[in-house]
Symmetry: C2
Subunit: 469 residues, 2 copies
């Protein structure tokens, strides 16, 4: 194939994989779907990457950038045409600098989160985006991941100091803002165009990150809210009383917890007599101060006691546990739910005070219209995110049917976006799996503007596998 | 004048001020400079504002948006031609919603920071950008202000959830992202184009802000570092030991403190026998936890004692004081320095560990080349910002001379940007006063890209009084 040999001449034989080399691990999505690639280009330097981009621009070859291939909306995998080149960042994975005094790290885009955090941990530092997967830093930027500790540390955008980006114009122009300054308003903030746009506006090749001190103590508890509507009040109470230490406030439905416990037999059921409460909130406090200054376990136990013994208690039950044990439940949910049948996944968000009302309305609607489906949702109470995942069990009274799934998606998304003013994609970004909803819910003005921006960054429209216009 | 009467027909007599009405307070900069306006349009609704923009687009009238007119780079005041219309946001100042449970506030762009914080304080909340001035929220977004507590809360961008923006195209297109979601990656993040671009890409009319819990206790101290190079180590030690509570780490030169004390006789000199140390660091700890949980004054006193009695102490001297008294020194510096003579002001930043070396090099260069000038710098040690302000005293051996000032600016900016990889505008943005340095230090690629973005948002180039291309 001529593209393969052309690219091999540009960046070496090792740099390019042809379909005959077996491309499945690049073509198959992390959880869903598979496509077919023209080839995989694996440049080892920004210079090589630019050579690939210039070749693609002049030969009209479409490019799908791929980091660790852990995305959930197919933005990093090719479509089924076999015409798209996968541009893998996997060989651009150097951790170039860790500056302990500045709390900054300069990394190439293919660096894995786990690799970065291993190195940072030797300096009592970490990049504080807490995720189930192990993505590349470039992919995290392209999808602006949030995760379980956003409440305390914010999303990727808030921890990003600079980017190096290659545009898909004829020169493969490099835009660079890698000064790693905390205060810099000396021009336009070009990098922000790239955050959360999934590789369609440019290819992220390197980043400057702000990193954080690792906590030296944590205290973790499971709380059973007295009633759903009390959850936002409980969050406000914890923000007022546990203040700076509050690190996570994660919600789990009974179905989600049950799926996690069934799937991972090493997890002990922490609830009395094996019962699972209808909804559980996992609360974590964390601090860089040691227990000699303030003992977070004592502090959390004290607060739990007070909440449970109040006249009109917000908390019906609560138990402290080892952090690893309680988080193991939370982190086993995705795989546990997946094991129950076909998943219809959602990644939605609303204003956090409206999350209980949204859940109540969605649960009622799903039960009324699709009684054979099982909702196993879990989410981020601190920021209004909910993974409203629904399982179609293999033994359901009704057989799996794509048009039913489409109707269900319409129901959920219309409720979230139109009735609750929320988002159809809280932290997974936009890709082929949900671009139809982007088109449905985004104003014509914004889409027109996005289309013009795209034209500016990628005049021939070869980057990515969705159309933002 | 026809523009005035045309605009009065569009938005009413009250909405437009003519030169004969006296426009000085709109035309004169907060600290420096003055221009001359065609008129001042003061729309009371976004609809009226759009009508003004459409009129200006079709009649080629240039627009300078103005919030509270507290900017320092002349981005909000007209030039001397008398051809520019000031579009004042002062009548768009409603605080539309404060949602206590969500910790969000929806405001019109002309809302003053002080007005917002007064209302938020009734709910134990605040917008945590700490500044000497009292700007409008729209102006804060347009210049992405940072201030004295960035170390803890970040800059405006990090506390911004959404914007409403009017573009200067023929339709005066409104782009709206006012959902106030903490997690939303369902499209491009249009608002980021507007942050820090000083009104040249669009007119910010409203914003959704994330707001924070007000601390219930603070502890404040002045520390005298044992040596300049120890300052970053001291910061790291405080980050490790005082962790979540560290709210400010501000540096003040002796000349800056002396100017503050001379200017404001109500401030008591807190140092022994009236001596002023060569450099002082103001440290503030703050918490939403009460002193019954952890007493920050005791905690800070304990740490100060330990730092001073160490074998190789980082801190030579330290004193705790009332927070208001110590901050009064810091907040009196600007006016104090201004009273000493003509100011040559700088707002630069570098990586925070490099700030002592930058200061040493700049001080040596200024003293060697311009011994008659007095450097009165102060800055933000936590984020590498420094207001390297220089006074030309009225009784200097050499008379004030603009070409000397230009040479001095070249010396300082070249040192900051070229030798230290820093920024010539850390938090004041880019305006007519420093656009020449934007052109000098910004890469041709980035300027070309910025020019194309500008073309997209403002095809006729009528917005703002600088050219970002």
């Amino acid at each position: 194939m001529s593209a393969v040999s052309d690219l091999q001449r540009l960046i070496g034989t090792d740099g390019v994989l042809a379909p005959s080399d077996g491309l499945e691990r690049y073509e198959r999505g992390y959880r869903y779907g598979t496509g077919r690639a023209l080839a995989v280009a694996r440049p080892a330097t920004t210079g090589e990457l630019r050579a690939v981009v210039r070749y693609c621009v002049s030969n009209d070859v479409r490019i799908v950038s791929q980091g660790a291939n852990t995305g959930l909306v197919a933005a990093g995998t090719p479509d089924s045409t076999g015409d798209q080149l996968i541009l893998s960042l996997e060989r651009l994975r150097a951790i170039e600098t860790v500056n302990v005094g500045d709390r900054t790290a300069r990394v190439q885009a293919g660096t894995r989160l786990s690799a970065l955090n291993r190195q940072l941990a030797t300096h009592q530092l970490f990049f504080p985006i807490d995720l189930g997967a192990d993505p590349s830093i470039g992919g995290m930027i392209a999808s602006n991941t949030g995760g379980s500790r956003l409440l305390r540390y914010g999303d990727v955008q808030k921890n990003l100091l600079g980017l190096e980006v290659v545009l898909a114009d004829a020169d493969a122009t490099v835009l660079t803002d890698m000064k790693a300054l905390r205060k810099d308003n000396s021009g336009i903030d070009l990098k922000q165009l790239l955050v959360g746009t999934g590789g369609t506006f440019g290819i992220i090749t390197a980043a400057q990150l702000e990193v954080q001190r690792l906590p030296v103590q944590t205290a973790t508890a499971l709380l059973v809210p007295a009633r759903q509507e009390a959850i936002p009040q409980l969050l406000n109470l914890l923000e007022a009383e546990a203040g700076e230490f509050l690190a996570a406030f994660e919600g789990m439905s009974a179905n989600a917890v049950e799926a996690a416990l069934e799937h991972n037999p090493r997890i002990r059921n922490p609830f009395d007599k094996g019962s699972i409460p209808p909804y559980t909130v996992l609360v974590e406090l964390a601090s860089v101060l040691g227990p000699d200054r303030i003992d977070l376990s004592d502090f959390l136990a004290d607060r739990l006691g007070a909440y449970m013994s109040a006249d009109d208690p917000l908390v019906a039950d609560g138990l402290l546990g080892r952090s690893e044990d309680l988080w193991a439940i939370r982190h086993s949910i995705s795989d546990g739910v997946k094991a129950l049948g076909r998943i219809i996944a959602f990644d939605v968000s609303v204003a956090r005070t409206r999350l209980p009302a949204l859940r109540a309305e969605l649960l009622a609607a799903v039960h009324a219209n699709y009684p054979f489906l099982r909702v196993c949702d879990f989410g981020h109470g601190g920021d209004g995110g909910d993974h409203f995942n629904i399982v179609w069990p293999p033994d359901a009274s009704s057989a799996y049917d794509a048009s039913t799934v489409d109707a269900l998606r319409d129901l959920v998304y219309d409720t979230v976006v139109k009735r609750f003013g929320g988002s159809f994609s809280a932290e997974h970004g936009v890709g082929p799996y949900n671009v139809a909803y982007y088109k449905r819910y985004t104003s014509p003005e914004e889409r027109a503007f996005a289309g013009k921006l795209k034209q500016l960054c990628d005049p021939k429209g070869i980057l990515g596998n969705i159309d933002f216009g």
